[in-house]
C-alpha cells in the first residue's frame, strides 16, 4: 500500500466562497479605508502617523515571527497589515509611538503567533492586545484624556462616557446623523458610522464576512439597549445611540467575524453574534467599562468552541 498522502483534511473553519486569504484581507483593508480616511481628516497627520506605524510594525513583526519560527513568510497574505490597521482604527490619534508599537507587537505576537498563526488564534488578536493596553495604560486609551488638545466642532466628550455617567439627557445633542458622519470622539477609524456601514455591506456582499454574525450582533445590541431604555429611559440611552457609538460598528464588521475565532455553522453564528451584543450592552450599562464591545468579543471567542458543538447530526448510525 502506498504511503503517499492523498488527502489532507484539516478541522474547521472552512467554507468556499471562491476567494482566497489575500483577497479577503486586502478586501477588508479597502473596506476600512473610508473610516480611516475620515479619522485622518479629523485628527490630521498625527493620526496618519499612528496608522502607518501600526501597519509597518505589524508586517515587520509578522516577518520576524516567520523567521523565528522557521516558517514560510506569510506577510504577503495581507493579514498582518490588516491587523495593524484594525489596531490603529481603535486607538486615539494621540497614542504615543511606543504604545502603538507595543500594542501592535502584542497583536501579532501574543494575539496571533503564540497560538500558531492565522487560523489558529482562539481570540481576535486585536481585541487581546487592546484589552491588555486598556488594563496596563488606561490613560492612553481614555479618549477624554487623549484628545484634550484637539479643537473639535462637536461635543468632545466620549459619548459612551457621558451616557454611562449622566444618562440619556447628556447625549441628547448627539443626533444619529451626527454619529453617522463621525461627529464624535473615539478611535481613529471607529467613529465614521456611514463609512463603517458601507465597508460592512461591501464585506457581506463579497462574503468576506458572514452576515449572520454581524447582523445578529447589531440586533443583540439593539434589543438589549431597547430593553434597558424602556426600563429606565432617563438612565439608559436608546438603541440607535448604542448602535452608532463606541466600537459597535467596528466590532460588527471587522472584529467579530474573524474566521478563526468565530463559529462555522449558521445557528452558532447567530448565537455568537447576539450573545456578543447582549454582553456588550450589559458591560456598557451596568459594568465598569464605558464600552463593552472588546470584552464581549473576547468572551464570545471563549465560548466559540462550545457553540460549534451545535451542529447538524451526521446521517446514519454507528454500527
Amino acid at each position: 500500500m502506498s504511503s503517499k498522502k492523498m488527502f489532507i483534511v484539516s478541522h474547521a473553519p472552512f467554507w468556499h466562497n471562491r476567494s482566497n486569504i489575500p483577497e479577503r484581507c486586502y478586501g477588508m483593508i479597502w473596506a476600512a479605508m473610508p473610516a480611516v480616511a475620515l479619522g485622518i481628516v479629523q485628527y490630521g497627520l498625527p493620526a496618519a502617523g499612528v496608522v502607518f506605524l501600526a501597519v509597518g510594525t505589524a508586517i515587520l513583526a509578522e516577518w520576524l515571527m516567520n523567521r523565528l519560527t522557521k516558517r514560510t513568510a506569510t506577510i504577503t497574505d495581507g493579514n498582518a497589515a490588516l491587523l495593524g490597521l484594525l489596531f490603529a482604527m481603535l486607538i486615539p490619534a494621540t497614542t504615543p509611538w511606543w504604545v502603538v508599537m507595543v500594542g501592535t507587537l502584542l497583536t501579532v505576537v501574543i494575539g496571533l503567533h503564540v497560538f500558531g498563526g492565522m487560523g489558529a488564534n482562539p481570540f481576535h488578536p486585536v481585541a487581546v492586545s487592546m484589552m491588555m493596553l486598556t488594563v496596563s495604560w488606561p490613560a492612553f486609551m481614555d479618549f477624554n484624556a487623549a484628545l484634550v488638545n484637539y479643537e473639535l466642532s462637536f461635543n468632545a466628550v466620549f459619548p459612551l462616557s457621558l451616557s454611562k455617567n449622566l444618562g440619556t439627557a447628556a447625549v441628547a445633542g448627539f443626533t444619529p446623523l451626527d454619529l453617522l458622519l463621525g461627529q464624535q470622539t473615539g478611535g481613529i477609524g471607529s467613529t465614521f458610522g456611514l463609512g463603517l456601514i458601507g465597508g460592512g455591506l461591501y464585506l457581506m456582499a463579497k462574503r468576506y464576512i458572514r452576515w449572520e454574525i454581524s447582523l445578529s450582533f447589531l440586533a443583540g445590541i439593539y434589543m438589549t439597549a431597547l430593553v434597558f431604555h424602556m426600563a429606565a429611559p432617563d438612565q439608559y440611552a436608546g438603541p440607535l445611540f448604542h448602535l452608532l457609538t463606541g466600537y459597535t460598528l467596528v466590532g460588527a464588521f471587522f472584529l467579530l467575524p474573524d474566521n478563526a475565532s468565530s463559529p462555522v455553522n449558521p445557528i452558532p453564528m447567530l448565537i455568537y453574534g447576539a450573545g456578543a451584543g447582549f454582553l456588550a450592552m450589559l458591560i456598557r450599562n451596568i459594568g465598569s467599562y464605558h464600552d463593552g464591545v472588546l470584552l464581549a468579543v473576547l468572551l464570545m471567542n471563549l465560548v466559540n468552541p462550545l457553540l460549534d458543538k451545535i451542529r447538524p447530526k451526521a446521517l446514519g448510525k454507528v454500527a
Binding site: G44, L45, P46, A48, G49, V50, V51, F52, L53, A54, V55, G56, T57, I59, L60, W63, T72, A73, T74, I75, T76, D77, A81, A93, T94, W97, V100, A139, D142, N144, A145, V148, N149, Y150, E151, A156, V157, S161, L162, K164, N165, L166, S288
Partner: protein
C-alpha cells in the same frame, strides 16, 4: 505560492510605512496649545473634564475671574495654571507657600496654600452656585 520577490516587495512597503510613521511622529508632534482647549483632572473618584476654552468664549467668563492673579495688567500668556500655585496634594510644600506672597492681605487671609483639589472644587462650585448654572454635585463632573 509566495515568491521571494513578493516577500521583498511587501517587506519594503512595511519599512517605508514604518519610516513614514516615525517621520509623522517626529514632524507633527501633538502640541499643547498655549491656551488649553480642555483640561482633564484625573482622580480616583472619576476624571473631571473641564471645558477651558468653552468657559472663556462660550460662557464669557473673563480669564481673571478664575486665574485670580492680583495684578490686572497681566497678559493672557502670563496667566498661571491652577497647579502652578496650588499643589496637587494638599499640605505639600508649594511655591508660593502662603496666599499672601502674591495676594493683598486685605482680600485674602494669610493661609497656607490650598491644594489643587480644594482650589478647583471651591472655584467651580462657588461660581456655579452663584450663577445658578453648571454642575455642583460630584457625579455631574466626575465621570467614572
Amino acid at each position: 505560492m509566495t515568491s521571494e520577490k513578493d516577500v521583498k516587495l511587501v517587506l519594503s512597503v512595511a519599512v517605508v510605512l514604518f519610516i513614514v510613521g516615525v517621520l509623522c511622529y517626529a514632524a507633527f508632534p501633538i502640541k499643547s496649545p498655549k491656551i488649553p482647549n480642555r483640561i482633564q483632572y484625573r482622580s480616583a473618584t472619576g476624571h473631571a473634564l473641564f471645558e477651558h476654552i468653552e468657559h472663556n468664549t462660550g460662557y464669557d467668563v473673563e480669564c481673571l475671574e478664575c486665574h485670580h492673579h492680583h495684578a490686572e495688567d497681566l497678559e493672557d500668556e502670563e496667566l498661571l495654571a491652577c497647579g502652578a500655585c496650588h499643589p496637587q496634594e494638599a499640605g505639600k510644600a508649594s511655591d508660593p507657600e502662603v496666599c499672601n506672597e502674591c495676594h493683598d492681605e486685605e482680600y485674602y487671609e494669610d493661609t497656607e496654600m490650598m491644594g489643587r483639589m480644594d482650589a478647583t472644587h471651591n472655584q467651580c462650585k462657588t461660581c456655579h452656585a452663584g450663577i445658578g448654572a453648571g454642575p455642583i454635585e460630584c457625579a455631574e463632573c466626575h465621570l467614572l
